[in-house]
């Protein structure tokens, strides 16, 4: 039936398939056949044609349908071919990778390193900067920072007190504003009340936060069990209630679902709650107060802030508002700018007008982190670039060795595109394999990080590898794969077919051009490593400078423990308290090995509060800074802390309520209140209506952080003033803290059986906590720089050793002609040095520019610190030479005869 088309008619498709013409031809054939049939039945030609067309119907429509189907078929065919080629490429790739396990392993590991670090850091950046806070509609949450009307210097010196609000201010603002759906408040002086859980096991100190009744609803947090506080639980004398954090519920109550409604016994000092407290709710695991508001802090339970109780206190409340739908932060700021001063004019008793800066809560939380994280991100980005360059280099070296294979494929008809595709497939397969390993690595890093409670970084505990990070990793993998595969692919596909096939050794496959290209890659690697090293060097130097800062106290060989304080509402009670404190100090002081003991309400680098200090008999300009951080301490505290008295004396037990009120101040306070004079013996208003006498001046103590200069401070004896914020006992002893702890605790227990079992914490932990974010960043950047330089070294090694292999014959000839081993080594080291110096020069210039970008992260270090640059240069040269030395040594061991006979 079907006859073969004669040869000559097959050529009408010589210009390639034409599906449209095929369809037309097919339909025309149909019509013609029909016409012939009709004519055979006796129709005339014209009539037959008309009849055939009539019968067929709309021929164009059929044609169009045919074309559509044809296109569809064509694209499917193409896709199939493409997929088949891909499968082929991948198979070939796997075969090749298997045949070269060393190369494969090194590439995958190097990539895993780059990609793993990248996705870990990306996840951190995503959690802390990019992702919204873990609250519904969190972009409507606004943080209030008070003290806008102070000038910047005063503000910087002021403590937490300058940024917080009184109950009255909070209530008035909440009542009168129109921008916010609701405004919440919580106590920032977390330990003003010490919570003690009794009756479950031995007395245990609790971390509690007092929050306003609308705290959880405003944030959008719903308890997983139970309910929020009710109105009657937040008023003075109301039923005491508590909401547990998920963590506390799990650890202390074994996640008992019947906990709701149960009572626990909690005592506070000074007493606000005493006795049984009903548990009314358990918070979801996703809510971590510390992660958002107080990095590193673990909160056990939340109790209602009874506003009437706090209304007599000073500025203690932190305020967060939830904006009404459609209101912007700027609009709210505008309203606040008008509202606070107008409220102040109605309330003569307010300290000041409480003008505030409003930030989105997100901005407040990320605070100063942003720049550090961006730097970190850039650092891992640089690592990834180095990884790319390195792999590119490896790939290129290998591709050169395979040039025969490619030339053969070209000769057998593979297109250039096909070769490029093969090489790209190889790099993509490697990059995917590396990414999988890298992702596992990132996962491990993140799990480790999220359990670091000693690092005071916000949201750290909420970090986890999520869908976004995984997508990011995949995108990175693809980009990296293309990036490092493209250059070698491009170069290889251009190589000369004849040259390569004729070449019977690994010889000079890629030629000089190839060498130059690889040298450029190595130079760029070195300069990238250079950038990393300089950054790490500068940050490290800043960090060392910070650790060298004179704290004003001596954290080593001292430890602190929280203790109970008896109430002291009147003078008799104060005398009783003094007696108790003295007994505690004497008892602990009598322990063997204890050098000094003292008690203070707050420790430096922990919390602080601000009162005023005004020298008597001097003119104080209106609005002048009179604030000073205030600490209530017992005699012996200054010595126990290792604070240095510059002049005068410490407090003594004979400073009583009946004697002259006395204070000790720091040098910053003395300088402000009595510039150019001796402050000792002078009078100043610090504690109330009667002036206090300055009996001592101490060296400045870093209160707020190691990087902030000391602001004026006042020390007030607990023997004369009862207005304490908790009590912490400080012990100075050369005995190890763990050994000492038991003795101290039992000494305190013997006086007060209800003394909670808290840990004796070395003072160093406060310092460590304070520097932990910076330590964290410096550590990471240093590790990254280390990796960067190792990768660069690997790159140098690769290129030099490749060139040695290539030149084996040449070296053999030279040695046969009398070149000494030293000469050969020197020549190769010289080649290495040229690369290193090239990279160094480029990197140096880039670093000079880039260093400016991290200026704000540096402490007492110039971004052009010559020491950092010098060390970087020496380090890089040394490592370069080292990695060049190995192949140089190998070259010098070449036996001329064997090399010459080699081929």
């Amino acid at each position: 039936m079907i006859k073969k088309i004669p040869i000559w008619r097959r050529y009408d498709r010589i210009l390639g398939a034409d599906p449209k013409a095929d369809i037309r031809a097919e339909l025309r054939f149909h019509l013609d056949s029909k016409v012939e049939e009709l004519m055979a039945q006796g129709w005339s030609l014209d009539d037959a044609r008309k009849e055939a067309e009539r019968q067929f119907g709309d021929i164009r429509a059929v044609q169009r349908t045919g074309e559509q189907i044809g296109e569809h078929m064509e694209s499917r065919r193409r896709f199939k071919k493409y997929a088949a080629e891909c499968v082929q490429d991948i198979r070939h790739t796997l075969r090749i990778l298997r045949s070269n396990p060393a190369f494969t392993t090194v590439s995958i590991l190097v990539l895993a390193l780059g990609v793993g670090l990248n996705s870990a850091v990306f996840t951190v950046v995503n959690t802390m900067l990019l992702r919204p806070l873990p609250f519904p509609d969190s972009n409507r949450l606004v943080w209030f920072t008070g003290g806008k009307s102070f000038d910047a210097k005063i503000r910087a010196g002021g403590g937490l007190s300058a940024e917080t609000y009184t109950v009255d201010v909070y209530r008035e603002f909440q009542r009168n504003n129109r921008s916010f759906q609701s405004v919440l408040a919580f106590q920032t002086f977390y330990n003003s009340l010490q919570y003690k859980l009794t009756g479950v096991r031995e007395p245990r100190q609790l971390d509690a936060v007092e929050v306003s009744d609308n705290f959880f609803p405003t944030l959008g947090v719903t308890p997983v069990l139970g309910r929020n506080f009710t109105a009657e639980e937040v008023v003075k004398g109301g039923r005491p209630a508590a909401i547990l954090s998920y963590y506390f519920w799990k650890t202390e109550f074994a996640a008992d679902p019947s906990i709701i409604g149960r009572s626990i016994t909690i005592n506070t000092s000074p007493s606000a709650v005493n006795g049984s407290v009903t548990i009314v709710g358990v918070l979801p695991a996703t809510f971590d107060f510390g992660a958002v508001f107080a990095p590193g802090k673990k909160v056990d339970l939340f109790v209602p802030a009874v506003m009437d109780f706090w209304s007599t206190w000073g500025n203690t409340l932190a305020v967060v508002g939830r904006l009404k739908q459609g209101i912007t932060v700027a609009q709210a700021q505008d309203e606040a700018d008008r509202l606070f001063p107008s409220l102040k004019s109605q309330h003569k008793d307010w300290y000041y007008d409480y003008a505030s800066d409003l930030f989105s809560l997100k901005a407040h939380v990320e605070g100063s982190l942003q720049r550090s994280l961006v730097v970190l991100w850039c650092a891992v980005g640089l690592i990834l670039l180095i990884v790319c360059v390195n792999l590119s280099n490896l790939q290129l070296g290998r591709a050169a060795a395979r040039s025969k294979e490619f030339a053969m494929r070209r000769a057998l008809g593979a297109s250039r595109g096909r070769i490029i595709r093969q090489l790209l497939t190889e790099s993509l397969v490697i990059s995917f394999a590396g990414s999988v390993v890298g992702l596992a690595m990132a996962f491990a890093i993140l799990v480790y990080l999220s359990h670091q409670t000693s690092i005071a970084l916000p949201l750290l505990t909420t970090i986890r590898l999520d869908f976004t990070s995984i997508s990011w990793t995949l995108v990175t993998a693809i980009v990296v794969g293309i990036l490092f595969g493209l250059a070698p692919a491009y170069r290889m596909s251009r190589s000369n077919i004849h040259g390569a096939i004729k070449e019977n050794t690994a010889g000079t496959a890629g030629g000089r051009g190839q060498d130059r290209f690889r040298s450029i890659l190595v130079i760029s690697e070195i300069s990238l490593a250079c950038l990393l090293l300089v950054g790490a060097g500068l940050l490290l130097r800043s960090f060392l400078r910070i650790l060298d800062v004179d704290l004003g106290f001596n954290p080593s060989h001292a430890a602190a423990i929280q203790t109970d304080l008896p109430p002291a509402a009147n003078k008799d009670e104060l005398l009783h308290r003094t007696a108790t404190l003295k007994a505690e100090i004497d008892r602990v002081g009598a322990l063997p090995g204890v050098e000094a003991v003292g008690i203070a309400d707050m420790l430096p680098l922990d919390r602080n509060r601000e009162w005023g200090l005004q020298s008597v008999g001097r003119y104080h300009a209106k609005g002048a800074d009179t604030g000073a951080l205030v600490y209530l301490v017992t005699p012996g505290y200054l010595r126990a802390m290792g604070m240095r008295l510059r002049a005068g004396r410490d407090f003594s037990w004979s400073d009583t309520p009946d004697t002259q009120p006395v204070i000790v101040i720091n040098e910053a306070a003395a300088k402000r209140e009595w510039p150019g004079e001796d402050a000792l013996g002078k009078l100043a208003y610090a504690t109330g209506k009667t002036p206090d006498r300055v009996i001592g001046v101490i060296a400045d103590v870093r209160e707020r952080g190691l990087e902030q200069n000391a602001s004026p401070q006042i020390y007030i004896p607990m023997t004369q003033n009862s207005d304490v914020e908790g009590a912490t006992l400080v012990v100075r002893s050369r005995i190890d803290t763990d050994t000492l702890g038991g003795g101290v605790l039992s000494a305190l227990r013997s006086l007060n059986p209800a003394q909670p079992a808290t840990e004796l914490r070395p003072l160093q932990t406060f310092v460590d906590h304070s520097v932990s974010p910076r330590r964290f960043f410096v550590l990471l950047v240093t590790i990254f720089a280390g990796l960067g330089i190792s990768l660069a070294a690997l790159g140098i090694y690769g290129v030099i050793s490749y060139s040695v292999t290539q030149k084996t014959q040449e070296i053999g000839v030279r040695m046969a002609l009398g070149a000494t081993r030293g000469l050969v080594q020197r020549a190769i080291l010289g080649q290495t040095l040229r690369l290193a110096i090239g990279g160094l020069a480029v990197g140096f210039i880039a670093s000079l520019g880039a260093a400016r970008l991290i200026r704000s992260l540096l402490y007492a270090t110039s971004p052009w610190d010559p020491f950092a640059y010098l060390v970087m240069a020496i380090l890089l040269l040394a490592i370069s030479l080292l990695s060049g030395y190995v192949p140089a040594r190998r070259a010098s061991r070449i036996e001329p005869m064997r090399a010459l006979r080699g081929n």
Partner: protein, 117 residues
């Protein structure tokens, strides 16, 4: 020619095309002719539906095409059945026979079905 023309029931065209290719490769025109003859002129396949149906079958891999010469020595596109097409034809034939038998049984019934116990 005076016999009643039957409209093709939806979905039958494919199986009829496959069946007509069972005897060997045919071009489109020959397929219409074969169906018409085989059904004693009862079934008339419209060209407007035949060709799209053929192309779709080709697209699905049930028929293959090849250009060849027709009886009158003209270039024509010949369709032939692939193995896949052969399998499909077998399956569809079975389905159709079962279907037709069931329909016939119902239509030729003379009394209602016995009550279920």
């Amino acid at each position: 020619m005076e016999k009643a023309r039957l409209e093709l029931v939806r979905g039958t065209l494919d199986v009829l095309i496959l069946k007509s290719l069972f005897w060997g490769p045919l071009h489109g025109y020959a397929i219409t002719r074969l169906i018409r003859r085989q059904s004693d002129d009862a079934l008339l396949v419209e060209e407007g539906t035949l060709y799209p149906a053929l192309w779709r079958l080709e697209n699905r891999g049930l028929v293959a095409t090849e250009w060849g010469l027709s009886d009158n020595n003209r270039k024509a596109k010949y369709y032939s059945m692939t193995n896949e097409g052969r399998r499909r034809l077998r399956a569809d034939t079975r389905t159709w026979e079962a279907y037709a038998a069931a329909v016939a049984k119902i239509l030729s019934a003379t009394e209602p079905p016995a009550r279920e116990a």
